[in-house]
């Protein structure tokens, strides 16, 4: 663009346009109205989101639990990965001022959530998550346990149809649902293959590795209330709870519930799950009331 010097009188004439400015158009009905309560965009059913119940997605549940540990007030907004600035849920939209004062919002992606929550919550007696020991155990949760979870949910044929399909790929049109489920299964397979290269996935090995990881985590917890002897639950507790709670509560199919049985073997992990559930998600389903199809007793 070429810029020419504009005479002053022309400029002031120019500046007087538009001659009349009315107040802004109000937003259409569906547009979210933000109060000062931060919104956690997460995988959740609309009913669970309103009731403050746990998300059905481990990553989202982890941050939900962590927010609750820190006493941060928030509301859960059901969402999907397309909405996220990083391509993955959850994330937080927070607004410091009310909508009438400012439309400026802060979007906090998942990798910045920990520090954001710690900054906005009360102070807790937790251990430093940066220690080498915690990191080593986080790897167990985020790899072995996660891979087995992905396998159980997406790659076991019945579970994928009845659980993954309903939870993640729901659409009013079955053709769309099945297309989305196929995509999700391919992505899960891709993910699990990173840890188990070779093109063929052996469920026995995946579940065995997860079992060993649970064993190690259980041993680590021992008789403590929270992991690593903390006075309050911390990020690692949230990470473990996110899996144990969901593994215990999903209605796995008979014969596809290895992961459920692996968790059931560790009484201290069951107690850990119950403690967090009772303290922070009092409305949530309990494993007993919601027996998986495959449980024997």
């Amino acid at each position: 663009m070429v810029s020419l010097p504009i005479p002053q009188f022309l400029k002031s004439l120019f500046d007087s346009f538009p001659l009349r400015t009315y107040p802004a158009n109000p937003l259409p009905s569906r547009c979210p109205k933000f109060g000062t309560t931060p919104s956690l965009y997460a995988f959740a059913t609309p009913e669970d989101a309103v009731a403050g119940n746990p998300s059905f997605n481990p990553s989202c549940l982890k941050w939900q639990a962590y927010l609750k540990f820190y006493g941060v007030e928030f509301k859960t907004v059901p969402s999907n990965n397309h909405a996220s600035p990083t391509g993955a849920l959850p994330f937080i939209i927070s607004q410091q001022k009310s909508m009438s004062e400012s439309m400026e919002v802060e979007v906090v992606p998942s990798d910045k959530l920990a520090s954001w929550i710690e900054e906005h919550g009360c102070s807790l007696d937790v251990i430093d998550t940066d220690s080498a020991q915690v990191k080593a155990f986080l790897v167990l949760v985020n790899n072995q346990l996660r891979d087995a979870w992905l396998y159980a949910l997406y790659l076991e044929p019945n579970n994928s149809q009845d659980l993954a399909g309903k939870l993640y790929c729901g659409s009013s049109v079955s053709a769309v649902s099945s297309f989305l489920l196929r995509q999700a299964k391919a992505a899960a397979r891709q993910q699990v293959l990173q840890a188990y290269p070779g093109g063929v996935l052996d469920p026995r090995r995946i579940y065995a590795d997860a079992g060993a990881a649970l064993e190690a985590i259980s041993t680590m917890l021992g008789k403590d209330t929270w992991f690593f002897g903390g006075g309050d639950p911390g990020l690692f507790d949230a990470s473990v709870f996110a899996y144990t709670h969901l593994i215990l509560n999903l209605r796995w199919h008979t014969g596809e519930n290895t992961l459920f049985r692996a968790v059931m073997e560790h009484d201290n992990l069951l107690g850990h799950e119950r403690r967090i559930r009772d303290a922070f998600f009092p409305e949530a389903n309990t494993p007993d009331a919601n027996k998986p199809l495959g449980s024997e007793s």
């Binding site: 120019f14 346009f17 538009p18 001659l19 009349r20 400015t21 009315y22 107040p23 802004a24 158009n25 109000p26 937003l27 259409p28 009905s29 569906r30 547009c31 979210p32 933000f34 965009y41 907004v77 969402s79 999907n80 990965n81 397309h82 909405a83 996220s84 600035p85 939209i93 439309m103 400026e104 919002v105 979007v107 659409s171 009013s172 049109v173 769309v176 989305l180």
Partner: protein, 505 residues
């Protein structure tokens, strides 16, 4: 008229020489001046001829069709059926025969599978006091496969013009009944990608009644005004007849690829949605040119019923848009004026039937209207009108816009050239329905409220002057614009604005 056989033959001999160019040049009259003159002459000659012998009783004994080797005989026969039936009626004259045969030629041409047809008429003598006619229609089929590639310019304004390259492959006359299969692929900056397969076939060998089915997948960028991309995968089936078209569309929409600064409104609507809808469009265009009209009028309407009752999908609404334009010259000065008015409404409906019925839901960004831009409401940026959240134009459920232009021919250039100076004023309002929450709220009172809001204060408006050039494929405008009235946040365009497009409002 009583005329001797020899006279009849003579007439037919002369017709034989003249009918052909008539039919041919009918298609090309607009394109080639020379052909037009030729056509006029031929037409006059023929007219005189026919006028002199118009009441000569005649019958068509047979029509020979030549050169349609890939076209089914049954299909050709169906086209000619009516002509034969008419020719057997008493009182069928030479004039009728000519009209019928010419109509058949036009019909063949309309299928889009032939070059302009040639028509020859001969007489095989007289029978029962009627001239027995033998006609020959010579057809030349267009090539069965056409491959086209090219580039398109898309979008304008200061957001940076986009471009795209396309490839289109047509398989004509697939089953010998003027069916066509078309594959289209395009890749570009704004319209990131489009893939479409389209099948068309005339129903009952009628070129004015077309069945159309298509499947498509596209990705379009709406980043420049609302921070997202939309991926569409869908199909449609429709019937076109004359100025009407109606059909069904099922489409899976995905809002994805959000910009970092995307507003919560866009984030809230991100993800999947399925629209299942019945639609109808109507267009009547009586303007002398759609790119630079100087006289005539145009009416267009589009209606869509989505998700209602058993239609399915997850959105339900009635959506209607109307557009009109009139143009008139001011005397013989070469100066002309045009005025246009259009409006639209999205009315949420309840989804499902019986126990699965859900109350009306507020609209999503995929379905709401956008307004503003150099080809739309000048003096505003593309989608610069209506409700906004931060940088995003989130669209509205009700709109109204209107404008008036006056065109002056350029001195020394004159009114014959498609070049004009224009002065315009145009305005618009785009508002969202208020007070509807998920499954709660009265739709009627929201709509009434939105209509009231349309007339609340002066509409957002802009005026300007500029230069218009109507190139045969697109119209170009360069205007100096000044927004006069706007809503806070609406994005006016002060100063120069360039507009390129086919549909100017």
């Amino acid at each position: 008229m009583a005329s001797s056989p020899s006279t009849g033959d003579d007439v037919l001999d002369r017709l034989k020489k003249n009918v052909d160019p008539t039919v041919l040049s009918e298609r090309e009259v607009a394109a080639l001046k020379r052909a037009a003159e030729h056509y006029e002459k031929a037409r006059n000659r023929l007219k005189n001829l026919v006028d002199d012998n118009s009441t000569l009783p005649a019958t068509i004994s047979h029509i020979n069709i030549d050169g349609a080797k890939n076209t089914r005989a049954s299909f050709l026969r169906k086209v000619l059926q009516e002509t034969f039936a008419k020719s057997r009626e008493p009182g069928f004259t030479l004039e009728d025969a000519l009209r019928e045969l010419r109509r058949d030629c036009r019909t063949f041409y309309k299928f889009g599978i032939f070059h302009p047809p040639g028509l020859y008429i001969d007489s095989t003598g007289r029978e029962n006091g009627k001239a027995n006619l033998k006609a020959e229609i010579s057809l030349r089929e267009l090539s069965r496969f056409t491959l086209k590639t090219g580039t398109d310019m898309e979008g304008t304004d200061t957001g940076g013009a986009g471009g795209s390259g396309y490839l289109s492959l047509t398989y004509r006359n697939m089953f010998g009944g003027a069916e066509s299969l078309n594959g289209y692929a395009s890749i570009g900056t704004r319209t990131r990608s489009v893939y479409e397969v389209n099948f068309q076939a005339p129903i009952n060998a009628n070129p004015d009644l077309i069945l159309e089915t298509s499947g498509y997948a596209s990705t379009r960028s709406h980043q420049h005004y609302s921070s997202h991309e939309e991926v569409l995968r869908g199909g449609k089936v429709g019937v076109k007849w004359g100025e009407h078209e109606t059909g069904y569309t099922g489409v899976w929409r995905q809002i994805t690829g959000l910009a970092e600064g995307a507003s919560p409104v866009v984030r809230g609507d991100a993800g999947d949605s399925v629209k299942s809808s019945l639609w109808h469009t109507f267009a009547r265009d009586r303007r002398d040119s759609h790119l630079l009209p100087t006289r005539g009028w145009m009416v267009k309407s589009e209606s869509e019923l989505a998700g209602w009752g058993g239609l399915g999908g997850d959105v339900a609404f009635w959506k209607s848009e109307m557009e009109t334009q009139v143009a008139a010259p001011l005397g013989a000065s070469g100066i002309s004026v045009s005025a246009g008015l259009r409006g639209g409404l999205l009315y949420p409906l309840s989804t499902g039937i019986g126990d699965n019925s859900k109350p009306p839901q507020p609209s999503r960004i995929n379905d709401r209207f956008q307004l503003g831009g150099p080809t739309d409401v000048r003096g505003f940026r593309e989608s610069g009108l209506g409700p906004r959240y931060g940088n995003d134009s989130v669209g509205g459920d009700v709109y109204m816009s209107g404008g008036a232009n006056i065109y002056f021919p350029l001195p020394k250039v004159g009114p014959k050239k498609p070049l004009r100076l224009q002065a315009f004023v145009n305005s618009g309002r785009l508002v969202g329905l208020q007070g509807l929450s998920e499954g709660d709220g009265n739709v009627n009172s929201s709509v009434v409220g939105a209509f009231k809001e349309l007339s609340n204060g002066m509409p957002s408006a802009a005026a300007g002057v500029g230069l218009v050039y109507a190139h045969p494929i697109a119209r170009f405008e360069l205007n100096f614009c000044l927004p006069l009235v706007k809503r806070s946040g609406e994005r006016g365009r002060k100063g120069l604005q360039l507009g390129i497009g086919i549909n100017f409002r």
